[in-house]
Amino acid sequence: MSRHQYDLIQCMKQPGKSVGLVCPQCDGKCPICDSFVKPTAKVYICHDCSLGHLYNKCITCSNYLGDNCESGVPAYYCLECVRQEKHREGCPRIVNIGSLKSDMIFRKKKEATKSTNGLLR
């Protein structure tokens, strides 16, 4: 995701033993280059990102994965990133919400308030 949205920040800490999970929408996507082709190496994320309030969220888009990550699927780096050793650079978890997403949330909220004449959220 960070390839197409420049304001997203990747964690880049030392990865640990836990596998990075993604939501069905991001399934098959390489967390570095967003490619859907040739998933090769499993993504490992760092300790901090695998626990805490982020533990049941998709590592690329922070979608909810269910209480015990039921809908989460392991993420894979694509072949090209592995060949370039980009999978060794650090934990690829997106740690902030990009302006695109937060803008969307507020736009939706505004539309919702408009349609209900401001009485409901």
């Binding site: 082709v37 901090d48 090209e80 370039q84 919400i97 937060s102 507020f106 909220k109 009485l119």
Partner: protein
């Protein structure tokens, strides 16, 4: 005495209610109602005024001390008044002297003394001359129709029985002699900005026209802040500072109210020129707007975003404004929306980095023991973020000092709360940054367990439990010292405090359990805690009930440890929690009940507990039924193996219960479907005897009038289809179901239709391939033409499921359908590539691949190539992807000539589309296949790489990147020549400045480096690295840096030998790395 007769008026209760209704003003403006709904009482305080005056730390501290003192005195006065009113009878009129104003911090002692002297003098005057004339002279008595309304006269005019009411507290008689007090009345009302003349002029004129171009709206509130823009004087009159200010104001207004493009542009120009404007000019304008109560959430969000970007620009220049920014941003930390909270957290974190610890500490220190709980809460949250950002190591000394504060309990309370908030911030189970300091933290908290203030004790217990929760399962050693005081605390407290202490022990026990050295501790405390919990099971307090459930989920119970568990835990638990009252509670509680039940079942008798719960699935109350289904679902999905021991009787009951609850539901919920799903997974073929009853119930419900029921039952069918296949030897049942589903394709409700198609997909997916061929009623030949018109349906869900089903048919049974039908579907699919939903586009592209495989690529590719000429970019990109997929599924040699031929058309869009398709193609292919097409594709890429159009070069670079990376390790010298040729063509593009282009170019250079090896590659960059012009050097260093990251080890042997250049022409020295044997 109570009168029993003669009560002819309406009952007092009704009267009260009516009065209440009248008192409510129905004609509130919508904005006010909205804000009432949106903000709870706690958050309403957001509406504060911001203080722009710069005060020293000492002044601030004094102010806070005064406030505290004031609050204390207020409290004392209130208490005294209450005791007075309680003792004295109500008939005595309270003294009518106006309450004298207390000494305020902004009144100097001299002024205060003078005021006091004046008042005394007046009092003296009133006492000595009590005659009417004197009062009239002072003008303090209202005169109506020539009659001075003094007390005596009023007594005579009015009938008896009226009592003179005392003026309300805080009321001051207006004294004309004194000048009006402007400063004191700024609290709730609109304040006119400093330059009154300008705005007042505007307020009178209509504000319909916009001051700046490109705005979407201009509201009346905006006039307050941007009024100056309405009548900007001619530019020659302004000095530089005002000009700057006006310029900034214009940009901020554009950011706030502008259309999307204006907004983006002004945001960019504000951040770029931030340092030119300076923090003072910008913040003085932005911050007051953020405090405006009527600000739309979206506008606030945009301003907050602007603020966060400005922070990065200003860096340490922000220091003088830290307090103001925190004042504005910190209330967002307790917003209901988690996104807003996260945003605020990010800003405060970057503010901390910019301002530094010392600055933040000195700005926030005065608020630690503020009288207002609201401010203390926010301060604790801000401090937690500060601690998290800068690390506990630097923050710990300060925290220690705060916890030792003797002055008042509020500071200690806030200090402890900082730790708690820090734990919550890090999140559940995330203790890696805390655990090095755990012992210190626990030691700091130890004395406060027995603090004199109850609030401090409670928050300490809560914080300890939060700490334990964060560091699980390690760190019991650190907690050992506090076990005893906490255990004593359980005996000493009641209510909420007890709940806190119980939670604390409950969270520490799992740590003991993990460490084998503490086995005895763990056993002892578990047993004892269960005793305490058993007593509290009956507690009506919601907080306590939730705490109990949370503790149970974590307790290491076992049959050995709790021998009479049935009578001690399970039964009381069922009595207390498995009833209709709990079922109607909020979801948080019901979820806890489900988790606790599952935990108990796992620890004790799984099957007997399951039997017990199954009974509730047939309860009359729907909510309880749902709760039971939730619990059953959780139990059988987490421990499917336990069901092996289930006897046939209980099995029947279980299935029956789930089916009953499913049939009886009135509020449709996903959980029923999930329960069926987990039932099917755990019982597997054992479900066979029950299938008939389940399916007949589903089919019956599929004919229901209510759309939701039909939808749900088709969803259920799609879940069950794989199990039906497993349970039956032939496909008879499934083909029947397919027929029924096929017949219901005429459904009108799109949501239901989507579900039916999905169910059909699932059924067709489950049956054998051979059955598909022999299926007669309906045959695949019948199903597909029915689906074609459905593709035109506008609903996205229908589209997606329909495409998937067509893809399945194309994959599983392509032969029975003639090519014309497939072509028709292809045309429909092309339309669907326009869809806004990405999943639909992906599904459509995949289906293209399947169809091309069945009917051959020729027709499909021609259609796709024609589609490249359309205007829309998204459509072209999707077509390119589809071509890539088709080429991949039908092997490249079938389509590549056609695609390359298309490149000859001298049209930019088409050529780009072709390049894009090739790029996708080479991304899909593996290296061995790619290698065979290298020579064929080179002339085309050559042409693209020397094209004038940027996008041509960009896309060609992507193609080369994919080819290079796929071929790594598979090429020999012959192939390397081609890649060197590419490198020669790409390298001049290194000076491109457009962000997309340069990043693709650099990527392709990286790819080529991987393929060619560092030796060849570095020869291209050495010269550029040391070029005298910086603009030349910079891109080369970029390339070098990425080489350094990946191949730093290989870099050394390839360093150029500078010493050879100057020394003698013949050199016999051989470097170590050049030694070969």
């Amino acid at each position: 005495m109570k009168k029993s007769i003669g009560n002819y008026s309406i009952p007092p209760e009704l009267n009260k209610q009516l009065q209440k209704e009248f008192a409510k003003d129905v004609s509130l403006p919508t904005s006010e109602i909205k804000s009432n709904i949106l903000k709870n009482d706690y958050q309403k305080r957001y509406n504060q005024t911001i203080d722009f005056s710069e005060k020293t730390y000492k002044q601030l501290m004094n102010e806070r001390n005064l406030e505290r003192e004031e609050k204390r005195v207020d409290k004392l006065i209130k208490e005294k008044q209450e005791s007075e009113t309680a003792t004295t009878s109500t008939t005595v009129a309270p003294s009518n002297e106006p309450r004298t104003r207390k000494k305020r911090w902004d009144v100097t002692p001299e002024e205060y003394l003078k005021q006091k002297a004046d008042q005394e003098e007046q009092a003296l005057v009133q006492k000595t001359t009590s005659d009417l004339l004197q009062k009239l002279k002072e003008g303090k008595v209202p005169i109506i129709n020539g009659i001075p309304l003094t007390d005596e006269i009023l007594d005579k005019i009015l009938p008896s029985g009226y009592v003179k009411v005392a003026p309300p507290v805080g009321y001051n008689q207006v004294d004309d002699n004194l000048s009006p007090d402007i400063i004191a009345t700024t609290d709730d009302y609109y304040t006119i900005p400093a330059n009154e003349d300008v705005t007042s002029k505007i307020m009178t004129t209509e504000s319909a026209d916009m001051p700046v171009k490109g705005l979407e709206f201009f509201k009346s509130e905006d006039v307050k802040y941007f009024g100056r823009l309405m009548n900007v004087d001619e530019e020659n009159e302004q000095d530089a500072d005002t000009k700057k200010e006006i310029q900034a104001m214009k940009l901020i207004l554009k950011v706030k109210n502008g259309s999307q493009i204006t907004r983006k542009r002004s945001m960019r120009s504000l951040t770029d020129n931030a340092n030119k404007f300076g923090p003072k000019v910008l913040l003085n304008q932005i911050l007051p707007i953020l405090l405006e109560p009527n600000l739309e959430p979206q506008e606030r969000h945009i301003l907050v975003k602007l603020l966060s970007r400005l922070l990065f620009q200003f860096d340490e220049l922000i220091r003088p404004h830290t307090h103001q920014i925190l004042q504005v941003i910190s209330p967002l930390l307790i917003d209901e929306d988690s996104t807003i909270r996260l945003e605020a957290r990010e800003i405060i974190s970057s503010l901390t980095k910019a301002a530094g610890l010392a600055n933040i500490l000195s700005t926030l220190r005065p608020d630690l023991d503020n009288v207002d709980e609201y401010i203390r809460n926010l301060t604790a949250r801000v401090f937690a973020i500060v601690a998290n950002t800068l690390g506990l190591k630097t923050f710990l000394p300060f925290l220690k000092a705060v916890l030792k504060s003797k002055k008042n309990w509020t500071a200690r309370h806030t200090g402890i709360k900082i730790i708690q908030q820090l734990c919550i911030l890090l999140g559940n189970g995330n203790g890696s940054s805390i655990s090095p300091y755990l012992t210190q933290l626990v030691e700091m908290l130890k004395p406060t367990i027995t603090d004199e203030s109850l609030q401090v004790r409670t928050i300490t217990a809560l914080t300890l439990s939060q700490l334990a929760e964060n560091v699980t399962p390690y760190g019991i050693e650190s907690f050992e010292t506090i076990l005893e005081p906490v255990w004593f605390g359980i005996r000493k407290h009641r209510g909420r405090a007890l709940a806190a202490f119980l939670k604390c022990i409950g969270n520490i026990i799992p740590l003991m359990y993990y460490n084998s050295n503490y086995e005895e501790f763990s056993n002892y405390y578990t047993r004892e805690l269960v005793n305490v919990l058993a007593k509290e099971f009956t507690s009506p307090d919601e907080d306590m009930r939730r705490t109990i459930l949370r503790i149970i989920i974590k307790l290491p119970l076992s049959r050995k440890l709790n021998e009479n568990y049935n009578s001690q835990i399970v039964k009381p638990f069922f009595n207390a929690f498995w009833n209709r009252r709990t079922a109607s509670d909020n979801t948080q509680t019901t979820r806890l009940v489900v988790d606790a039940t599952t935990h108990l079942a796992n620890k004790f008798d799984f099957l007997s507990l399951l039997d017990h719960i199954v009974i509730f699935t047939k309860d009359d109350n729907e909510q309880l039924r749902r709760l039971a289904i939730e619990a059953v679902n959780k139990m059988i999905s987490t421990y499917p193996d336990e069901l092996i021991g289930l006897d046939s009787q209980s099995e029947l009951q279980l299935v029956d219960g789930i089916v009953y609850a499913f049939q009886q539901q009135t509020v449709h919920h996903r959980i029923y479907l999930q329960a069926f799903d987990s039932l099917a997974k755990s019982l597997n073929v054992r479900l066979k005897p029950h299938l008939n009853s389940i399916i007949s119930s589903i089919l019956y419900r599929m004919k229901n009038n209510v759309a939701e029921i039909r939808q749900q039952s088709s969803d259920l069918l799609s879940i069950l289809a794989p199990v039906i296949k497993k349970c039956s030897t032939d496909d008879e049942l499934l083909t029947k179901l397919i027929l029924i589903l096929y017949e219901s394709l005429g459904e009108v409700y799109p949501e239901v239709l989507a579900s039916i198609i999905t169910a059909l997909y699932s059924c067709l997916d489950s049956v054998d391939k051979s059955t598909l061929y022999i299926m007669q009623n309906p045959s695949i030949n019948q199903i597909l033409p029915t689906l074609t018109p459905i593709l035109k349906n506008r609903q996205e869900k229908v589209q997606e499921s329909c495409i998937k089903l067509i893809g399945l048919i194309a994959k599983k049974n392509p032969e029975t359908i003639n090519a014309k039908e497939w072509m028709r579907i292809c045309f429909e699919l092309l339309e669907l590539l326009k869809s806004t939903k990405k999943r639909i586009r992906i599904a459509a592209n995949d289906t293209f691949g399947y169809i091309a495989k069945t009917i051959g690529p020729q027709d499909v590719i021609v259609m796709l190539l024609n589609n490249l000429r359309v205007q829309e970019r998204q459509l072209r990109v999707c077509t390119a992807v589809a071509m890539g997929i088709v080429a991949e599924t039908c092997s490249p040699f079938t389509v590549l000539p056609a695609i390359m031929n298309e490149y000859r058309i001298p049209e930019k869009n088409v050529q780009n589309g072709v390049l894009k398709a090739i790029s996708f193609l080479f991304e899909y292919l593996d290296g061995n296949t790619t290698r065979d097409y290298l020579f064929a594709i080179t002339p085309l890429l050559e042409d693209a790489l020397i094209d004038r159009d940027l996008v041509h070069r960009q896309t060609a670079a992507t193609v080369i990147k994919h080819m290079a990376l796929n071929c790594v390790g598979l090429t020999n010298a012959e192939y390397d020549d081609i890649f060197i040729h590419y490198l020669n063509l790409i390298l001049p593009n290194i000076y491109e400045s457009s962000p997309h282009v340069i990043s693709r170019i650099l990527e392709s250079l990286d790819g080529l480096r991987n393929l060619l090896g560092l030796g060849v590659f570095t020869n291209y960059i050495w010269a550029g690295l040391f070029h005298p012009a910086r603009k030349v050097r910079t891109p080369y260093w970029k390339v070098f840096n990425s080489a350094y990251i990946q191949n730093s080890d290989a870099l050394v042997p390839y360093y150029p030998r500078f010493e050879q250049l100057e020394s003698s022409p013949v050199d016999y020295k051989v470097e170590e790395l050049d030694l070969f044997l």
